[in-house]
C-alpha cells in the first residue's frame, strides 16, 4: 500500500476531505448531511493517511501542536506569561524560531481529547438556555441568516460537537487498530 504516489496523493486529499466534511456538516441542517456524516467523512481522510503512513506519522503530521516556550520571568503573572507565549507563537513565528531563549515544545492531541471536546461542545450547547430558566437544550438562535448554514444557533453548535466526537472516535479506533 505504501506507494509513493498514493502517499503524496493522500497528503493533498486530506485538506479536501476536511473541507468537504465541514461543508457537509454545515449544510446538514437544510440538506442531507450533518455532524455525524461530516465527522465520518473527515475521519476517512485520516484513515487513508494512517493506512499509508502509519498512525505515528498521522499523529505527528496532523495532531501535534509544535510551539515554543519561554521560561517565565520573575514577577510575571501566570496568565500574562501564557498570553505572551500564545501571541508570539501565533504572530511572531520568525522571532520565536530564531530566539535563543525560546525552547521547542510539542503537544500531541490524543483523539480522546477530540472526543472529550466534542462531547463537551454538544453538552454545553444546551446549557445556555438553562441559565435563562428555560429547559435544557432550548435552541438559542441568532437573528440573521448566513449563507449555506442558514440561521446560526446552538443546535448548530451541537452538531459541531457531534462532528468532533465522531472524528475523535474514528481516529482513536483506527490509530489503535493500526498499531496492533
Amino acid at each position: 500500500m505504501k506507494t509513493l504516489i498514493l502517499a503524496v496523493a493522500i497528503r493533498i486529499f486530506i485538506p479536501i476531505f476536511v473541507f468537504f466534511s465541514l461543508y457537509i456538516l454545515i449544510r446538514g441542517h437544510n440538506h442531507p448531511g450533518g455532524g455525524f456524516i461530516g465527522g465520518l467523512i473527515c475521519a476517512i481522510g485520516f484513515i487513508f493517511h494512517t493506512m499509508t503512513h502509519g498512525p505515528k506519522e498521522t499523529s505527528n503530521t496532523f495532531f501535534t501542536v509544535r510551539y515554543y516556550r519561554l521560561t517565565p520571568e520573575r514577577g510575571q503573572g501566570f496568565l500574562l506569561h501564557k498570553l505572551i507565549i500564545l501571541y508570539k507563537n501565533l504572530f511572531r513565528k520568525e522571532e520565536v524560531r530564531t530566539g535563543s531563549e525560546w525552547h521547542k515544545r510539542q503537544f500531541r492531541i490524543d483523539p480522546i481529547f477530540i472526543i472529550a471536546s466534542g462531547l463537551f461542545l454538544a453538552t454545553t450547547s444546551g446549557v445556555f438556555s438553562l441559565l435563562a430558566n428555560q429547559p435544557y437544550m432550548t435552541g438559542v438562535w441568532a437573528d440573521y441568516y448566513l449563507p449555506i448554514i442558514g440561521k446560526p444557533g446552538t443546535p448548530i453548535l451541537f452538531d459541531l460537537g457531534v462532528y468532533l466526537l465522531v472524528l475523535g472516535v474514528v481516529l482513536k479506533i483506527t490509530f489503535i487498530m493500526a498499531e496492533e
Binding site: F113, I115, F120, G126, L130, Q134, P135, Y136, M137
Partner: protein, 506 residues
C-alpha cells in the same frame, strides 16, 4: 427550577466524565473530579427526591418542545428513589475503587466510564420517552460492556462474550418493541402512549404483542428466569468494585423499566401477562437460590442471589396491587444497597485474604471483627431477617400475595428466603467462622504482608462498606420513611392519570 434539577442527574456525571477525559492520564486529577462529581450528584439527587416528594411529579421538556413532540424528562417518586439509590451506591463504589482497583485499570478510563454508567442509569430512570429510554439503556450497557471487560483477564473476556451477545439481543428486542409501538400508535412519548393505549379499541392484541418484546428484552436485562443465563456467567468476573456497581444496580434498572412500562403502558390484556410474570417470578426465585446453594465461590453465590432476588421484585409487579408494587419498590432500593455492600465485602475479604473460594478462606471473624459484623448485617438483611431491611420488602410482598390469594407464590418466596439464609450462613461459616486453612500457605503469607503494609488502604476499603451498612440499617430499623415513600410511589404508578397529566397538561 425544575428544568435544572431534572437534568442535573444527567449533566453532573456527564460533565464529570468529560473533565476526566480531558485529564485522561492524570489519575490524581480524575480522583478529585470524581469525588466532586459524586458528592454533587448525591446532593442533586437528594434534592430531586425531596422536590418530587413535595411537589409531585416534575417534568421538563428538553429543548422546550411540548410534550409529545420532544423528549420529556419526568421524575416521579419511583424514579427519584432510583436516582438516589444509584447516587448512594455510586459514591460507595467510587470510594472503594480509589484503592480497591489496580492503577492500570484506572488509567484506562475507569472513572469516566463509571460516571457515564451513572448517567445512563439516571437517564433510564428519568426519561419519559420510549426511544430515549432505549438510548440510555445503550449508554448504560456499553459502559457495562467496557467495565466488565476492562483489564481483559481470561474470565472477564469469557464473561464479556456472553454478556455482550445476550444483551445485544436484548437491546434489539427492546428496539423492535419500540418500533412496533411507534408503528402501531405513532408516538414515542410515554404519557401520550398511555393515553393512546387506553383509548385504543381495535388493536389491543397488537399492543400486547409489542409488549412481549419489551417483556423479553427487559426480562433479559433484569435476569428473569429463562433469560438470566448471562448474569451468573459474567457478573463475578470483573474486579470487585465493578462487579459491585453493576451487580447492585443494573439488573434493578431493567426491573425498574419493566415496572414502569407495565404499569403505565401495557395495562391491557393483563390476564395474559400477569400470570406469566407470576410463574416467572416464582421460578426465578427458586432457580436462583438453588444455583447459589450449589456454588463454592463468594462472588458466584452473590451473583446467583441477584437472580433469586429479582424474582421477589418481579413478584410485586405480577401481583399488581398497590401494596405489592410498593413492596417491589422497597425491595429494589433495599437490594441495590445490600447487594453492592455484600460485593464490596467480598472485595475486602479478597484483598486481605487473597481468595474468593470458600475453601481457601477462613478466620475473618477473628481478625476482622468489624468486617464480620458488617457482613452479618448485610447478609441477614438480604435474607430478610427482621428488623433488617430485607424483612420489610418481604413482608409487604408476602402480605400482598396473601391478600390476593397467591398462597403458592408466597410459600415459594418464604421457602426461598430460608434457602437464602442457608447460603448466607454458608459464606459466614466458611469465610468467617472456619479456621483459616493451613494448606494455603501462600495466601497466609500474602495476608501477613498485606496486613502490615496496607493498613490504611484496608481501612479506606472499609469505609464504603460501613457507609452502605449504615444506610441498610437506617432503612431497616427506621423503615417508615422508605416504606411510605414506596407506598406513595406505587400509588403514583398505579394512577397513571397523575403521570399523564403532569406530562401532557403543562
Amino acid at each position: 427550577m425544575q428544568h435544572l434539577i431534572l437534568v442535573l442527574p444527567l449533566l453532573i456525571p456527564l460533565y464529570g466524565a468529560i473533565l476526566c477525559l480531558f485529564f485522561w492520564r492524570k489519575l490524581g486529577v480524575q480522583r478529585v473530579i470524581g469525588v466532586a462529581t459524586q458528592l454533587s450528584l448525591c446532593a442533586a439527587s437528594a434534592y430531586l427526591l425531596s422536590e418530587t416528594d413535595q411537589a409531585g411529579i416534575l417534568t421538563t421538556h428538553i429543548g422546550n418542545w411540548e410534550a409529545p413532540f420532544g423528549i420529556t424528562l419526568v421524575a416521579d417518586l419511583f424514579s427519584s428513589l432510583m436516582v438516589v439509590a444509584s447516587a448512594v451506591v455510586g459514591i460507595a463504589v467510587f470510594v472503594f475503587s480509589l484503592r480497591g482497583l489496580s492503577n492500570a485499570r484506572l488509567l484506562y478510563g475507569y472513572y469516566p466510564l463509571l460516571l457515564l454508567l451513572q448517567m445512563g442509569v439516571n437517564g433510564v430512570c428519568l426519561t419519559g420517552d420510549l426511544f430515549n429510554l432505549y438510548v440510555w439503556f445503550e449508554v448504560l450497557l456499553i459502559c457495562c460492556f467496557v467495565l466488565i471487560a476492562l483489564g481483559g483477564s481470561k474470565p472477564q473476556l469469557e464473561g464479556s462474550i456472553k454478556y455482550v451477545t445476550i444483551n445485544f439481543l436484548a437491546s434489539s428486542f427492546l428496539l423492535i418493541g419500540i418500533g412496533m409501538v411507534y408503528g402501531i400508535l405513532g408516538s414515542l412519548n410515554m404519557a401520550e402512549l398511555a393515553v393512546l393505549i387506553r383509548a385504543a379499541e381495535d388493536n389491543h392484541g397488537l399492543i400486547t404483542l409489542a409488549s412481549v418484546f419489551f417483556l423479553i428484552g427487559l426480562g433479559i436485562k433484569s435476569a428473569i428466569f429463562p433469560l438470566f443465563f448471562w448474569l451468573p456467567a459474567s457478573y463475578h468476573t470483573p474486579p470487585i468494585a465493578i462487579s459491585a456497581f453493576i451487580a447492585g444496580l443494573i439488573t434493578k434498572v431493567g426491573l425498574y423499566t419493566l415496572i414502569r412500562l407495565f404499569t403505565l403502558l401495557f395495562v391491557l390484556n393483563q390476564d395474559i401477562v400477569l400470570p406469566l410474570l407470576l410463574v416467572a417470578s416464582g421460578l426465578t426465585m427458586v432457580v436462583g437460590v438453588l444455583g447459589a446453594a450449589a456454588q463454592v465461590d463468594f462472588r458466584k453465590i452473590l451473583s446467583f442471589h441477584i437472580v433469586s432476588q429479582i424474582g421477589y421484585m418481579l413478584m410485586g409487579l405480577a401481583i399488581f396491587t398497590p401494596l405489592a408494587i410498593a413492596g417491589s419498590i422497597y425491595f429494589i432500593i433495599h437490594n441495590i444497597l445490600v447487594k453492592t455492600c455484600l460485593f464490596l465485602i467480598s472485595g475486602v475479604v479478597y484483598r486481605t485474604n487473597g481468595s474468593f473460594t470458600l475453601k481457601n478462606l477462613g478466620g475473618v471473624y477473628l481478625f476482622q471483627p468489624l468486617l464480620a459484623a458488617m457482613f452479618v448485617i448485610a447478609a441477614f438483611s438480604l435474607a430478610g431477617i427482621p428488623p433488617l431491611s430485607g424483612f420489610w420488602g418481604k413482608f409487604m410482598l408476602a402480605k400482598a400475595g396473601l391478600e390476593v390469594g397467591q398462597f403458592g407464590l408466597v410459600a415459594t418466596s418464604l421457602s426461598v428466603s430460608i434457602l437464602t439464609i442457608f447460603s448466607m450462613t454458608k459464606i459466614w461459616n466458611e469465610v468467617f467462622w472456619k479456621k483459616r486453612p493451613r494448606t494455603d500457605v501462600t495466601a497466609d503469607a500474602a495476608m501477613a504482608e498485606i496486613n502490615v503494609a496496607d493498613k490504611p488502604v484496608i481501612r479506606l476499603l472499609h469505609l464504603p462498606v460501613l457507609f452502605l451498612v449504615l444506610a441498610i440499617l437506617f432503612i431497616g430499623l427506621y423503615a417508615e420513611p422508605l416504606v411510605s415513600l414506596a407506598f406513595r410511589a406505587s400509588e403514583q404508578l398505579l394512577n397513571s392519570e397523575i403521570y399523564i397529566n403532569a406530562v401532557l397538561l403543562k
